[in-house]
C-alpha cells in the first residue's frame, strides 16, 4: 500500500495531494532558510496564526455577497490580508516600542488567533456555515482537495520559490551582516519585509495541506536539518528545499496509504525524522560525530602527553594514559616505555619542537593554525619547509655544543 502511494498509484486525489505537498515542502524549505539565517524563525508562527481571522472574514464576505463561502482562492486571499496585518504589527511593535520581538510575537499570535476562533464559532451558528469545514484549515485537510485547489497550491508555491531565489543575495547579505548591508545601500526594513512576505505567501499556500498550526514546522525543520550537513549558504537553502520536498511527498504518501492518517501532521513527523537522523548522524555538526571526535581526540592527547613524559623522563600519573600506551604496545603495564615507545616518544618531542618553530614563522600562518598538539608536522608542511625548520632546530644545539 505504501509502495503504491509512493509510486503515485493510489488514485487521482492522492496524486494531487502528493504533488501539491512536494512543491509546498520545497518552497517552504527554501523560503524558511532565509528566515532561519536571519534568526527570526518564530515570526512565522505569528504570521501563520494571524491567517485565521482572515479566513473567517473572507467566508462571511463571500457568503454575504451570495457566493460560495468555501472558495479556496477567496479564503486564502482573506488569510493573506490578516497575516500581513499581523506581520506589520510584529514589525511595528519591535521597532517602535520597547517590546522585544518574542513578546511581540506572543501578543500578536494569541490575539489574532483568538479573534479567528471567535469568527469561526460565529460562522458555525450561521445558516450556511455548518458545512463550511473551515476548521480543516487549522490542521490541514486534503480529503476533498479539488484539481483547482492543487493547481492553486502548485502555482503559489512555484511563484514564491522563484521570488525567493531572485531575492536571495540581498536576504543573505542582511542576515549575515546588517550594518554592512545598510552601508552598501540596502534598505534593511524592506529586505526584511520581503523575506517575511515570502514566508507569508508560503504559509497561505500551505493552509489547505498542512494547516496554519503546523506550517511553522515546514518553515523551520528543513533549514535546521540542512544546516547539520553543510557550511555553505547556497547548499543550505538547496538542501533545505529538498528535505522539505521529500518530507511533503513521503508524508503525503504515508497518509494516503491508510484511512486514518492526517496529511499535515504526517508530513511534519516525516520532516522531524529526517531532522532526528541528521541531529545524530551528520558528519560534522551531528551529536554522534561530536562525541566520537571528542573521545578520539582525548585518546590522542593522552598518548601524546604520555610520550612526551617518557621523552623527558617524567613519570606518568594518569592510569588512563598508561592503559592507552600499553594497549598500543608503547609501554609495559607499569608505564615503563617499550623500545617502540621510546622511539615514538623521541619523535613526539622532535615534533613538538618543530611545531614551536613553525608557529613562530610569520609566513606559515595557515599551517600554524592547524596546530592542535597531536597532528604530525609532516602532514602540514613540505619536506623543503621541514628542512628549513630543522635549520632553526639545529642552531641552538650547535651553540651549546
Amino acid at each position: 500500500m505504501l509502495w503504491q502511494a509512493l509510486t503515485l498509484q493510489l488514485g487521482y486525489n492522492a496524486t494531487l495531494v502528493a504533488i501539491g505537498a512536494t512543491l509546498l515542502g520545497f518552497a517552504a524549505g527554501v523560503t524558511g532558510t532565509f528566515l532561519f539565517l536571519r534568526r527570526r524563525s518564530l515570526v512565522s508562527d505569528a504570521i501563520s496564526h494571524a491567517t485565521l481571522p482572515g479566513v473567517g472574514l473572507a467566508f462571511i464576505v463571500m457568503v454575504a455577497l451570495g457566493g460560495d463561502g468555501r472558495n479556496l482562492a477567496g479564503l486564502l486571499a482573506g488569510s493573506a490580508v490578516t497575516a500581513a496585518l499581523g506581520l506589520l504589527a510584529v514589525q511595528w511593535l519591535t521597532r517602535r516600542t520597547r517590546l522585544a520581538e518574542d513578546s511581540a510575537i506572543g501578543a500578536v499570535l494569541s490575539v489574532f488567533f483568538g479573534f479567528g476562533i471567535v469568527l469561526l464559532t460565529v460562522i458555525q451558528t450561521m445558516e450556511s456555515g455548518r458545512q463550511a469545514g473551515l476548521d480543516g484549515l487549522l490542521l490541514g485537510s486534503t480529503a476533498g482537495m479539488l484539481r483547482s485547489d492543487a493547481l492553486l497550491i502548485a502555482a503559489g508555491g512555484a511563484l514564491t520559490l522563484i521570488l525567493t531565489l531572485i531575492l536571495r543575495r540581498p536576504m543573505i547579505m542582511v542576515a549575515f551582516d546588517e550594518d554592512y548591508a545598510a552601508a552598501r545601500g540596502l534598505n534593511i526594513r524592506q529586505v526584511d519585509l520581503a523575506t517575511m512576505g515570502l514566508v507569508m505567501a508560503v504559509t497561505v499556500v500551505g493552509l489547505k495541506v498542512v494547516g496554519l498550526i503546523l506550517i511553522v514546522a515546514l518553515l523551520i525543520i528543513p533549514p535546521v536539518t540542512a544546516r547539520f550537513w553543510t557550511d555553505r549558504t547556497e547548499r543550505v537553502w538547496l538542501l533545505s528545499g529538498l528535505i522539505g520536498g521529500i518530507s511533503g511527498f513521503v508524508g503525503a504518501a504515508i497518509s494516503a496509504s491508510a484511512p486514518a492518517l492526517p496529511t499535515g501532521p504526517i508530513i511534519v513527523l516525516t520532516g522531524f525524522s529526517v531532522f532526528a537522523l541528521s541531529l545524530f548522524l551528520a558528519p560534522n555538526r551531528g551529536v554522534l560525530a561530536a562525541i566520537l571526535r571528542h573521545v578520539a581526540f582525548q585518546r590522542r592527547v593522552h598518548i601524546r602527553q604520555g610520550l612526551l613524559a617518557i621523552a623527558q623522563g617524567q613519570p606518568i600519573y594518569e592510569r588512563y594514559t598508561v592503559r592507552l600506551l600499553h594497549r598500543a604496545g608503547l609501554s609495559r603495564p607499569d608505564g615503563v616505555a617499550t623500545e617502540a615507545g621510546r622511539a615514538r616518544s623521541a619523535k613526539a618531542l622532535m615534533d613538538e619542537k618543530r611545531w614551536e618553530i613553525l608557529r613562530a614563522m610569520p609566513d606559515q600562518e595557515a599551517a600554524a593554525a592547524l596546530y592542535d598538539g597531536i597532528r604530525p608536522i609532516e602532514t602540514v608542511v613540505t619536506s623543503d619547509q621541514l628542512a628549513e625548520i630543522d635549520t632553526y632546530l639545529a642552531s641552538p644545539q650547535e651553540v651549546s655544543a
Partner: protein
C-alpha cells in the same frame, strides 16, 4: 600628506581639503539614543588621500558617528556629502568595515563567499559568480595574506583573521573611501601589521582612509590626521596640530594617564 599639512598651517585649503568636494564631509551631525545625544553637532572633513584616526574615550560616539554618516543609524540632524554629492549617489565609492562583533560567526558561509559579497554591485541579483569574480576575491584575500583560507568556514578563523577577511571584502569593492570601525580591536600583532600595510598602500594610491581607533600609542605612527571626539568634537586636523596633550586632556579628562602615551607632541 605634506600638502595637507602645509595647507592647514597656512590657513588655506586645497581643493580636496574643501568640504564641498572632500571624500566625506559631515556637517552638524547629532545622534541620540532616546533623549541623550551620543554625538552632538559634529562637523568633520576627511580630505582626499588622508588617513584619519577617530579617537576618544569609551562612549564618546566614535562608532556612532561612523554609522550615522553612512546612514546605518538615522541621525537626529546633520548632513553628509561624499565627494561633494549626496551620500546615496556615491555609496559605490565607499567601503565600510564593521566591528567584528557585529556578526554571527557561526553563519554558514565560507571566507570566499564573504569576500564575494564585496562584489554584490557587479553580481546584482541574478548574475552567476564567474571564475573572474572568484579570481578577484582571491586576489583581495591574498592582499591580506588570507588566500589559503578561502574555503574555510568563517567560524574557524581567529579574531585577527576574521578582521582581515572583512578588510578583503572592502577591498573587493574597489572603493575610494574606506571607513573602518575599530579594525585593530582584539587582533594579533601579525594582523595589525598586515592591516596597516594594506591601509598605507591604499593611502599611497590616493584613497581616503578613516578608522575608529582606540590605541593612542600608535596614532602618530599609523595616521596623518585625527578627529578627537567626546560627544562633541574636541579637535580635528593633522596629527602634529590636533593630537596634543591639551586636546587629549579635554577629551579623556582624568581617565588618561598621559605619561604612558608615547609620541604626543607636548603643547607649548
Amino acid at each position: 600628506m605634506t600638502s595637507i599639512a602645509l595647507a592647514s598651517s597656512n590657513g588655506t585649503q586645497t581643493v580636496t581639503d574643501h568640504p564641498d568636494t572632500a571624500p566625506m564631509a559631515i556637517r552638524g551631525m547629532t545622534v541620540s539614543y532616546g533623549q541623550k545625544p551620543v554625538v552632538f553637532s559634529v562637523d568633520a572633513t576627511f580630505p582626499e588621500g588622508s588617513m584619519t584616526a577617530i579617537i576618544g574615550p569609551n562612549g564618546a560616539g566614535k562608532s556612532t558617528l561612523l554609522k550615522a554618516s553612512l546612514g546605518i543609524l538615522r541621525p537626529l540632524s546633520g548632513n553628509v556629502t561624499v565627494f561633494g554629492q549626496p551620500l546615496n549617489s556615491q555609496r559605490h565609492r565607499i567601503a565600510y568595515v564593521p566591528q567584528r562583533a557585529s556578526v554571527d560567526w557561526d553563519f554558514p558561509t565560507t571566507v570566499l563567499d564573504v569576500v564575494l559579497m564585496g562584489l554584490s554591485r557587479e553580481l546584482g541579483l541574478l548574475r552567476r559568480v564567474r571564475p573572474r569574480h572568484r579570481a578577484r576575491a582571491l586576489e583581495c584575500l591574498d592582499r591580506v595574506s588570507m588566500a589559503d583560507f578561502a574555503n574555510r568556514q568563517i567560524g574557524q578563523l581567529s579574531g585577527g583573521q576574521q578582521q582581515r577577511v572583512f578588510l578583503a571584502r572592502a577591498l573587493a569593492q574597489g572603493a575610494d573611501l574606506y571607513l573602518l570601525d575599530e579594525p585593530f580591536a582584539g587582533v594579533d600583532a601579525a594582523t595589525e601589521k598586515a592591516i596597516i600595510a594594506v591601509l598605507q598602500t591604499l593611502k599611497a594610491e590616493g584613497k581616503t582612509v578613516v578608522a575608529v581607533h582606540h590605541d593612542l600609542s600608535t596614532v602618530t605612527d599609523y595616521f596623518d590626521r585625527v578627529l578627537i571626539l567626546n560627544t562633541s568634537k574636541i579637535a580635528e586636523g593633522p596629527v602634529a596640530d590636533a593630537f596634543t596633550e591639551d586636546s587629549l586632556q579635554a577629551a579623556y579628562g582624568g581617565r588618561l594617564a598621559t605619561a604612558h602615551v608615547a609620541g604626543i607632541p607636548v603643547a607649548g
